[in-house]
Symmetry: C2
């Protein structure tokens, strides 16, 4: 589609209204990006991303359907868009076309407290829904760190997990049914998750806008917990921390949060005073990574020499910070907290009291906002989460760290614990003499990390979705299922207009 | 396929061995049936079911693949078969062909206790797996009443729920990945449930052999609970009992069992002495239904006049029996039991102590074995489970009971409680002057029950699967999803040889 395509733009305006379609350069530039860090490296390298021809803000599902029908008629790609918080490039309009911003579909359609369900439109921002539910004494139990800038539809489309998924599950565990507009421009409701036969909601959860535009979701809600208990420990090493997490989850406990930081990540989250190792070059590195001073040059040097920096990290004492949050009724929160503490005592963990977990909670949504300082200093940073079974956790951590560490400085925390395993959330930072070298190192780090995860049979994504950063590895990770996707795609989106090139995707643009 | 088809039978024998293929009449008769009660009515009406041309017992997944490939080559239908406990006709070879008995695939392939998973072949009988796990200090947590005569593969294929699903979930919540032979005769493994993107396991769970032959499953296992607490109550009426169940589940409690019997079902499960109403005609009816004496003629008369019988049931006092089993650690079992008891006190429930729930546990698998006595008395009986939200439970119960009660005597219990709702398990019994009339009344009862469930937006199945008894209602229940199924079917089973006519099915034969 050429940058300006009057016939469809006029048709779109006739459908949703003059002011709800934009072809202005500022809007087209703004909607050519989400929070995928690679886009920033492209920009530094002087490359502009593909812009959409138009941005459309439909008012309701009926208008979404009309827009999709129009785009189908004109064979124009459509990218469904929530709040743009995606960190994998899933909403980039790599083939141009129309970005369909769903934020006007933000109503809570119905709450049925006795049935424990809420029906909410796709464009509702997460924090707004959660606060609204809280006023009814309820909670969705879904707290991604993007909650301030992500939507219900985005959560479902990307198979999101919140920080409390150990207790409340991932978004897929909350879906009762969905309202979806297919690539044929028809609004449909999926059968209830518990209908007899196959649960068809599953084909949409994680499909990232390629099989349909999610316009509303019925989700399970929880009673708002009446109590929370907080606890932190210094554990001797990663093994000890992972062991506590595994034992707690396999004992049938249901803490809402269990988070273990590796030594470098422990250093990063610790307060300056509480750790003797946080001195000298590592201290400077930390300050640099936190954007709290030091010269940009020093940071760039350290990140530009990842083997040296990762080597220096090995000098950090092996102790790790482990956090737990337990909740529910007062009795359950206390019982869970006590039971985890008893497990922790068994591995010589040092009880740090409530402070560290309370501090984490206070800043739980701040993570995404620190990265810009590193880019401002001329370096880059990204995160990369995988998941695996308990028996593989340590091996996967070591292997990914070794592979990625050739290109970037890398640290990790272990979170989203389940009875069968957990997620490993890697943070990596790098630098290079030119934007082109930076981007090559960034790509090499991702490639090395994903290759390692695939080789070891781990899940290549846990809660950030696939987008473009993982799309090329999906074939290896999903194998034959790519053909099953193809069958559904041909049926649900016969002309292939819905977010083309995503999920089982092409190379990054 | 004609009754004897030498070319494929010879080929099958060459593939799996002479003794692992049978075309003898006894085997073909035996495999023409599962536990669908309607087949018995057909037999009484003098109608023989369609027999398979052959029964095959492959040794492993590779042989399954070869058998499927051969059948594809000869365009011969295949019906995967576990232990034949299905009560909906899902394994009837309605188009003839080959019944593929998977019971030789019974190995536990691997147990990874640290990861909380077991990989087991499809033909492993449930009770055998559970006992084996128990010896390792583990449990699957899946206890269908058919556990003595149903298999892992059957559980996954029919989206089974066990009696403790309130705590441990349905089988779909336990599936990590599957080994499946497609209609093209290729063995494949599904991506792990937690792989990025869509969870493809979902398309096989509940597909009842129409999209692939499940040959093995990796399932999540639990630590064996160390304590159980039992409690029973007499509640004033159904509303009070449902209210206790709802409040308990929405308070975040996780009992393994909550079961509420309606007044007639309460009478049926109660011991003779413990209920004053259990006298006179109702007492005789109960004895007849339990096959404990009384004249078959009296039972047939009562069941042949359902309006009168259901009317008489209204004279039973409205009190209902509610059972709860709580488990986990000793502390958790006690805490859950106490919390439910506190809720029950709030609705004037009379605490009956441990006895009734212990009695239920002792006979938990006996339900399927009582029905033959009723058939022997010249009547019929079947069960029919649906599921709905808490707000709809009472309305659905009344509506189904009214609709079904025009044709048969009907009772129900409420079980499989979740935070959002529960299952209603109807038991109905009828009679008629001729086998043909009996079958017509049986069909009318099913039709009325399913029509009512669809109309009220309830799930038409909870844990028995679809089979033939619900197949004609799946279109109404699943709507457009029937087309999605078609797309997958065309890809996964290109020649349509896998259990043809099931799930979205034809009329019963």
């Amino acid at each position: 589609m050429p940058p300006s395509a009057p016939p469809i733009v006029d048709a779109l305006r006739a459908c949703v209204g003059e002011r709800q379609v934009s072809t202005t350069p500022p809007d087209r530039v703004a909607y050519a990006r989400d929070l995928w860090p690679r886009s920033q490296l492209d920009r530094l390298a002087g490359e502009a991303p593909q812009r959409p021809a138009a941005v459309v803000w439909p008012a309701d599902a009926a208008q979404v359907a009309e827009v999709v029908a129009l785009c189908r008629q004109h064979r124009v790609p459509i990218v469904p868009f929530g709040a743009g918080s995606g960190v994998c490039g899933g909403t980039l309009p790599i083939h141009g076309g129309v970005v369909l911003d769903l934020k006007r579909l933000k109503a809570v359609r119905q709450l049925r407290p006795a049935d424990g369900i809420v029906e909410v439109e796709a464009g509702c921002v997460g924090e707004r829904l959660e606060r609204w539910l809280n006023r009814q004494g309820l909670s969705l139990g879904h707290f991604p760190s993007s909650i301030l800038c992500s939507t219900v539809g985005g959560w479902v489309a990307t198979r999101s997990a919140g920080q409390c998924s150990s207790r409340y599950g991932k978004i897929e565990d909350m879906v009762v049914d969905l309202e979806v507009v297919g690539g044929d421009g028809v609004v449909r409701r999926t059968p209830r998750a518990d209908a007899g036969g196959v649960d068809w909601n599953a084909i949409y959860v994680g499909s990232e806008g390629t099989l349909g535009v999610i316009t509303a979701a019925t989700l399970r809600v929880q009673r708002l917990p009446t109590a929370q208990a907080f606890r932190g420990w210094r554990v001797p090493n990663i093994e000890a921390g992972v062991e506590i997490m595994r034992r707690a989850m396999q004992a049938g406990l249901r803490p809402s949060v269990l988070r273990l930081y590796d030594p470098l990540d422990t250093l990063m989250v610790g307060s300056d005073g509480d750790r003797k190792a946080a001195k000298g070059p590592l201290h400077s590195l930390k300050q640099g990574l936190l954007g709290k001073g030091g010269s940009g040059r020093g940071l760039r040097w350290a990140l530009g020499h990842p083997r040296l920096s990762n080597g220096a990290v090995r000098l950090i004492p092996p102790g790790c910070l482990l956090l737990a949050v337990s909740e529910g009724s007062a009795a359950e929160a206390r019982a869970t907290d006590d039971a985890i503490a008893a497990i922790a005592r068994g591995v010589q963990a040092e009880d740090l009291g409530e402070g560290p977990a309370r501090a984490w909670l206070a800043h739980r949504y701040a993570v995404s906002f620190k990265q810009s300082r590193i880019y401002a200093a001329g370096a880059f940073v990204d995160t990369f989460e995988v998941a695996t079974t308990w028996g593989e956790v340590r091996g996967l951590y070591d292997a990914v760290k070794a592979a990625v560490g050739r290109h970037v400085l890398v640290m990790a925390h272990f979170s989203h614990a389940y009875p069968g395993g957990c997620s490993i959330y890697f943070t990596f930072a790098g630098a290079g003499p030119t934007p082109q070298v930076m981007r090559a190192r960034y790509d090499a780090a991702w490639q090395a990390g994903l290759d390692t995860a695939v080789t070891r049979g781990a899940a290549i994504a846990h809660h950030h979705g696939v987008g473009l950063s993982r799309g090329r590895h999906m074939g290896a990770a999903h194998g034959e299922a790519q053909r099953w996707f193809g069958a559904l795609k041909a049926t649900l989106d016969p002309d292939g207009i819905l977010n083309p090139g995503k999920v089982f995707s092409e190379a990054p643009p």
